[in-house]
Subunit: 414 residues, 2 copies
């Protein structure tokens, strides 16, 4: 790499960081993926992480696909759904390649409602499905009638009501919610408690003002209130809208996405466009919940690491000391790991501040060159899914993305 190229990349990264820092993603609407996402159709199934063929998917991801095809009415039962998936009729693609993100298995099909988020500054639009809550959920590969019934309720009752409320209320500024949530102990990836409660407060009066039956409104409120991770979908869509703006011009060397499909992890960069730089997925060395072992664990899976690409999640651990209760370790240790990210980033976010660090901004904008030069890889907060479909989350913690992804991205710069 010549000196000129380096200087030019630095300049490009500076401009990109300014875009990242200025972005104003807002929640505009809730509507079916098939209507919301450009180019979507009934044959398309989105999944988390870099591209992967059906036969290579983890059991949890395959089970989620099967459940989704039954949910869509494309198959009368799970066995039929499996045959359909194997038949080659269905096109599988990364959610990230369609302006979308998906948690864990990340399956998105046409009738699933998604949040529509738009960056008011760049005009970029992004999408994310609605978090189903704890326990048995499609994102972990659960696909029982109970799971599909809940998806049906989300589609037929919850999402339409939320849509009405949003229409009454107008767009919700997600940047402001994220900023305030960092003041309230969230990092907006593995801890979304304050953000979810703030979102609840924002939307509740408008839900009431829809005039819908009291029981429907109460059910919607209880659904949001009952899931401390409800905001994660919005945080992911927020980050995706920001990073889409960074990918548009195909310049610079900033990370725009980190994701996993359970077999491979991959990153994308501002200069690399839709190209994925991948490496084998590994089981995260994190705290496994009581009664589980590494043998039960699915390697890195999900799109939620896009939050780290803009300085949230593990990059903002210093704002979220209470997370240590959940993921283990000492607070000081977590803060130290998080603060080390300043060595591989290009700036400090002007709105996402860490009160405990005298309101210093989170480290933001990962430069793949800095990663490779220092050997310091980005950390991400992660949840570990069981390898048994539907068994759910069995661990949580902080892990590093593999250096190989960043080396490949740097090579592509030359």
């Amino acid at each position: 790499m010549t000196r000129t190229t380096t200087a030019s990349l630095d300049e490009q990264n500076g401009i990109l960081f300014a875009k990242l820092a200025a972005a104003q993603p807002r929640l505009l609407d809730v509507l079916p993926a098939g209507e919301a996402i450009p180019g979507f159709n009934a044959e398309l199934v989105l999944h988390a992480g870099p591209p992967i063929a059906w036969q290579n998917m983890t059991p949890a991801m395959q089970a989620a696909v099967e459940g989704a095809l039954v949910f869509e009415g494309r198959a009368r039962d799970l066995a039929a759904a499996r045959r359909l998936a194997e038949s080659g009729t269905i096109r599988f693609a990364p959610a990230h390649d369609h302006q979308a993100t998906g948690a864990m298995a990340g399956i998105v099909t046409a009738s699933m409602p998604v949040f529509l988020v738009e960056d008011e500054v760049s005009g970029e639009r992004s999408f994310c499905t609605i978090n189903e809550g704890l326990g048995k959920a499609l994102r972990f590969g659960a696909n029982s009638p109970e799971v599909l019934n809940r998806l049906g309720w989300i589609r037929d009752s919850f999402a339409p009501l939320l849509k009405q409320a949003l229409r009454l209320k107008g767009p919700i500024n997600l940047r402001a919610l994220v900023a305030e949530s960092l003041r309230r102990g969230d990092e907006c990836h593995n801890r979304n408690k304050a953000a979810t409660t703030l979102f609840f407060r924002e939307i509740a009066p408008a839900l009431v003002e829809t005039g819908a039956p009291h029981s429907d409104i109460a059910a919607a409120l209880r659904f949001i209130a009952g899931n401390d991770h409800f905001f994660l979908s919005l945080s992911m869509a927020h980050a995706k809208a920001v990073t889409l703006g960074l990918e548009r011009d195909g310049v610079g060397s900033l990370v725009t996405t980190m994701a996993g499909n359970g077999r491979e992890v991959g990153i994308r960069t501002s200069g690399g466009g839709p190209r994925w730089f991948t490496a084998p997925a590994e089981v995260a060395q994190v705290r496994l919940f009581e009664g589980h072992s590494v043998a039960d664990a699915t390697p890195t899976m999900g799109d939620s690491y896009v939050t780290e690409a803009i300085g949230l999640g593990a990059f903002a651990l210093a704002a979220a000391p209470a997370i240590a209760e959940f993921i283990g370790g000492t607070v000081q240790g977590l803060v130290a790991r998080s603060e080390k990210m300043r060595t591989i980033t290009v700036g400090e976010h002007p709105a996402f501040l860490i009160p405990a660090l005298e309101f210093r901004g989170v480290p933001s904008g990962i430069d793949v060159r800095k990663v490779v030069a220092s050997g310091t890889t980005p950390i991400v907060n992660t949840g570990v899914a069981s390898s048994r479909p539907g068994a759910g989350q069995i661990g949580a913690g902080v892990q590093s993305f593999p250096l190989a992804c960043f080396e490949a991205a740097v090579s592509a710069l030359d």
Copy 2:
């Protein structure tokens, strides 16, 4: 003081601290002060701080009394209310002497709705009026028709609806809300943002389930959502319920109350019962908001310092770094002042934890002997009211309670 007495006080304080640490205050009901508070009657007006006669009250407190008497229908206008207050018919008493607490002027009259909080462990009951919100409010001495109309809406619409919702939902565990709010950056005195939002989330579904007209429910939700200090009343009642338990047996040397009436400040102790140990109130040396000077300031007024008596407020600043934006100073400076309180307290609260300090409990249970021996006086978070009735809050920050109160309390031990 003999060695035996000291040992005995230490033992008593140990037992008291265990009570403080075990308390489980819950919100049970909302009802008019005249029904809720034992011995209340139409001639009684409660105020903040230690006892004070009408003619000695600050202009802001007098104005609040006048507004309250009009609100109660005891006088047709403010001038008539003033004559009534001067007439000697009305009995003035500290809210603290009637199991209650009041913010700023702290006026409580018979028809004002109060929260009824009960410590499930000790059975002690406490009360606090509902926070009226920002801007012009009776607690700052505002008494215009706008203010009295809002009090009327609180009495006639909001409180009855909240009561219905509480009946549907059952008691709300305030200890749990406080504990979680400390994980979310509150200290539950000057910062109640997370606690208010959590309370909102707790009560919203039940408000909807009352089946009341949508517009009434939406108005109630917007009222809570629109006031980041809504929870302060609950935090005060919570602390009062805890400290009433400490006063019951008349033993030990722990502070149970710190309060001000704008002329005098006073403390009460576990061993001193209802006796107040007072000193002249001073203007807090805190950050005054833009455009205000010390000449505008009312000396220490309000009952909310009862929160510090159990380890919240200024004793929990390390949990609430974002408060530095509001009250000024560096976060590290605030944390250092807060942590110094460990030298005058007898324990660390087992449920009120500070994540950033590796989940160490807040310093709790102020021993007046430690205060006097060390010369380190308790700090409190405070809001400064304008001396012009109704002009509202003109500053905020951290102040110390005067040593003289604690010296008097120690003398009384001998």
